[in-house]
């Protein structure tokens, strides 16, 4: 492998030939460089998309901070080079390297990929290839780095199982240290690679796919998942933090423009709303909140540490944060010494209180107000369990225009189970009413942006049994919306149906999908998340080559007793609970926010010890009776 110096020399000769060379040099304010030889273990953290998207990623920022605070470890970063740079790197024999010290990734001990979405899978293969590391786990030996992955997509790890040595399921703050520790003791004992894998499988929250094997029925569904090693756990339960640690505020400040150039502070994890299509809402349970003083202290530290003036407060549902009013009041009072501070608070509920909240935050009103009603008829709202009446939506949107915002962004989702064209037409109708009312209030300045995504059934959700709409149906629904929703001050966005298909087959894919991903990559698929790069033909050919039918994964309604490829991964929410919710949805039965009443989804029995260790209101699940000490 080339040395860091050789890589540096070759880089200088190519960087002026590519767009935005600042992506490839590192050197950001707050980046951490340790002496290579001074540490025991070297970890490369990789976001498999371009720098502009990867640098602001909060998950990797947290791990970077966690690892670099250890004196015995260094963590450095790598991102996917854009096409022009990749060509240059391949031409000049430059392997994928870390931005900090310019070491080849193959020289690290551990390489960790962040996989928040499925459309980063081919990029992951491409990066391994560019790093000159064998793609398949089975082809790697003691001389290669350990390849791990985590992130929301890995709650169904099976499609990537043949490429990744170990998946970290769930929240990474603690478990990443245990992975490093296991690696260190393996290294000092000088064992074989399999010894490392077995040791890792004993770390709670770590899934080592090579220690398991699925057996299939003749019809292609799974018969069962077999352990190949007696000591490996089954199921593998996700890892969560009993108490959320202090939020990271040691952010890197990039030297070039990136997508979210700001401080990001997570105010809570989890969501109690129970929207049935929502993957994040299930896999991040239980709800745990951070105290307002901790959030404010983190904002202050981050502002001082970075020089940013923009802060995003992140959560799945900001309005549900118990102390939201206290928090916004305190931000405007206690951070008054930052007069140009701008705070964004996404995911607000559809109610007029949300306007008060943003006004308190001195929202400039120029960015527009975003709401996500998701569906427009009561029937659909009951099916997806997001009850919000049209009256309430209109009352809110009307107030938004009247109180000074000129742009509203509404997000809907089409393709929910049993959705008809009438339900879709209702989306168009309500959008037209919103805009018409806006015109009445503020005249022609009123603008409406409508974002229409397409539903993809996700593993571990109540809709995991549901079939995905065919592209023809999706197109007919989109056609209707395009026809109805055009005109001045009305902007419509939608998702390409073919990209939706890819997301659908990858989300609920089994282990055989690994070969399809490999073949698609070999045929040129990469940057699947980029509309202009997405290569549908490569995927179709790959399916054909592997003798698999994509419809099996996308359009097939599952039998209620089917064993799913991800059933051996536990989010803590029981499958029987998800099934109940699926059946409730078919009957149009709503289930309320579980803050008001616990529905026993399974989280509490799975994590009762953690709950007991963290009593009080800090978790939003009820308290567990404490053990009587004799």
């Amino acid at each position: 492998m080339l040395s860091a110096n050789e890589i540096q020399t070759r880089l200088e000769r190519v960087l002026l030939k590519v767009q935005k060379p600042g992506r490839y040099v590192g050197g950001e304010y707050n980046q951490i460089i340790k002496t290579w030889e001074s540490v025991k273990t070297r970890v490369a953290l990789v976001f498999p998309d371009i720098y502009d998207l990867g640098l602001p990623n909060l998950g990797l920022a947290i791990l970077y901070d966690e690892l670099n605070r250890r004196p015995d470890v260094l963590a450095e970063r790598a991102y996917a080079p854009w096409l022009d740079m990749e060509t240059m790197m391949r031409q000049h024999g430059i392997p994928l390297y870390s931005l900090e010290s310019k070491h080849a990734l193959a020289d690290f001990d551990i390489v960790g990929f962040s996989l928040p979405y499925e459309n980063l899978y081919t990029n992951t293969l491409n990066l391994l290839d560019l790093a000159q590391i064998p793609l398949f786990s089975s082809e790697r030996d003691e001389a290669h780095p350990l390849i791990i992955a985590g992130g929301h997509a890995t709650y169904n790890p099976e499609p990537m199982a043949v490429f990744i040595d170990a998946f970290v399921i769930g929240e990474g703050e603690e478990v990443i240290h245990e992975v490093v520790n296991a690696y260190q003791s393996w290294k000092s004992n000088g064992g074989a690679r399999i010894d490392l894998l077995i040791a890792l499988s004993h770390v709670s929250g770590v899934y080592v796919p090579s220690l398991y094997e699925p057996d299939y029925h003749e019809n292609g569904t799974i018969a069962h998942i077999r352990k190949l090693n007696d000591t490996a756990p089954l199921p593998v339960r996700k890892r969560i933090m009993g108490k959320l640690p202090e939020p990271t505020w040691r952010f890197l400040v990039p030297n070039i423009d990136v997508v979210h150039d700001r401080v990001a502070i997570e105010i809570m994890r989890g969501c109690t709303r129970g929207c049935r299509f929502c993957h994040a809402g299930i896999v991040t349970r239980p709800v745990r909140e951070r105290p307002p003083e901790q959030i404010i202290a983190a904002i202050r530290n981050a502002l001082e540490y970075t020089g940013y003036e923009e802060v995003a407060l992140l959560s799945l549902s900001s309005s549900d944060y118990s102390h939201i009013l206290e928090l916004v009041n305190r931000i405007s009072n206690e951070l008054a010494d930052y007069p140009n501070l701008s705070i964004s608070l996404p995911s607000l509920r559809i109610e007029t209180v949300s306007l008060d909240i943003l006004e308190k935050l001195r929202d400039s009103k120029s960015g527009g107000f975003t709401l996500a009603p998701e569906a427009a008829t009561d029937r659909m709202r009951n099916i997806i369990n997001k009850p919000i009446s049209t009256e309430q939506l209109l009352e809110t949107t009307n107030a938004i225009y009247r109180r000074g915002w000129t742009t509203i962004k509404l997000y809907f989702m089409i393709g929910h189970p049993s959705e008809t064209l009438e339900d879709v037409r209702a989306i168009a109708d309500v959008c037209k009413t919103v805009l018409a009312q806006g015109r009445k209030s503020i005249g022609r300045r009123a603008t409406l942006h409508v974002g229409i995504s397409t539903f993809v059934p996700k593993a571990h959700t109540p809709f995991q049994w549901a079939a995905c709409d065919t592209p023809e149906i999706i197109e007919s629904k989109q056609r209707l919306l395009k026809r109805e929703l055009s005109g001045p001050n009305l902007k419509l966005n939608w998702t390409d149906p073919q990209e939706t298909l890819m997301e659908a087959w990858l989300s609920r894919g089994d282990r055989r999908m690994g070969k399809v991903i490999f073949e698609a990559w070999k045929r040129g698929a990469k940057f699947d998340a980029w509309h202009d790069q997405f290569n549908f033909a490569a995927w179709q050919e790959a399916f054909q080559f592997c003798n698999l039918n994509p419809d099996f994964y996308t359009h097939r309604p599952r039998a209620l007793n089917e064993v799913f490829p991800w059933d051996h991964i536990s989010t803590g929410v029981r499958k029987s609970y998800l099934l109940q919710e699926y059946q409730n949805s078919q009957q149009g039965l709503l289930r309320e926010d579980c803050r008001s009443q616990c529905y026993a989804c399974g989280i509490l029995p799975e994590f009762n010890q953690l709950r007991r260790q963290n009593p009080g209101n800090y978790w939003k699940c009820p308290e567990v009776a404490s053990l009587t000490v004799e």
Binding site: R13, N255, I256, Y305, G307, N340
Partner: protein, 217 residues
């Protein structure tokens, strides 16, 4: 209000940071130092900073100038320097800081020329570079097209010379180019006029020449 003029070097890793992004780099460094920036009026208030002579992407510089306006009367230039030193990113090295009158013209208007040093990654065959330089200076005009506009590069080249180093093949040049508004020479344009690929060399701006220094040079 105070106006401070900073002279500094812009080096790796900021070499690939554009003029526009440098504005943000300075803003953030000043905010980290909690120095009281002044802002423009209007809907999107912008901090008042003024950088001289944009540096092309990939070019380092040992001599940059930025003016900043601060909302304070008490801090001395030295105190400002001491605070700022702690919050500068890698790649900015301040070598001079002065308080200047508020009504001083913008730094762009003071600069008349800039000097560059060019280091070729690969030396040309012996005497080849010397020959090309001699040929370049012998002509009266060098008509080039940049951004679809035709212009004459020759009068913008005030000086060009070879740097000779003991025991090394010739591979370095020194350039002085005009840097007046509307008459600014680019080092990469000179390279390509010499038949060299602009990406085959390291370019560094070594000095900005101000009008008041003109008599000295």
């Amino acid at each position: 209000m105070k106006r401070i003029r900073i002279q500094y070097a812009k080096l790796d890793p900021l070499r690939y940071t554009s003029h526009l992004d440098m504005q943000k780099i300075w803003e953030r460094a000043l905010r980290r130092a909690r120095l009281p920036l002044t802002y423009s009026q209007g809907f999107h208030p912008q901090p008042r900073l003024n950088q001289a002579c944009p540096l092309p992407l990939g070019v380092t510089s040992r001599d940059e100038i930025i003016d900043i306006w601060l909302n304070c009367d008490s801090l001395s230039a030295i105190e400002i320097l001491n605070t700022l030193q702690k919050t500068l990113p890698d790649g900015i090295r301040i070598h001079q800081i002065n308080e200047i009158p508020l009504n001083e013209p913008p730094p762009d208007r003071l600069v008349i020329a800039a000097e560059y040093e060019i280091t070729l990654f690969e030396a040309l065959p012996p005497h080849e570079l010397e020959r090309r330089v001699a040929e370049l200076v012998s002509v009266e005009s060098i008509i080039r097209i940049r951004r679809e506009k035709q212009y004459d590069l020759r009068p913008l080249i005030l000086n060009i010379s070879i740097i000779e180093e003991a025991n090394q093949p010739i591979h370095r040049l020194r350039l002085r180019l005009s840097a007046r508004p509307g008459a600014t020479g680019r080092a990469d344009e000179v390279l390509s006029a010499l038949g060299l690929d602009a990406t085959s060399a390291r370019i560094e701006r070594t000095r900005l020449i101000l009008e008041k220094d003109a008599s000295v040079c």
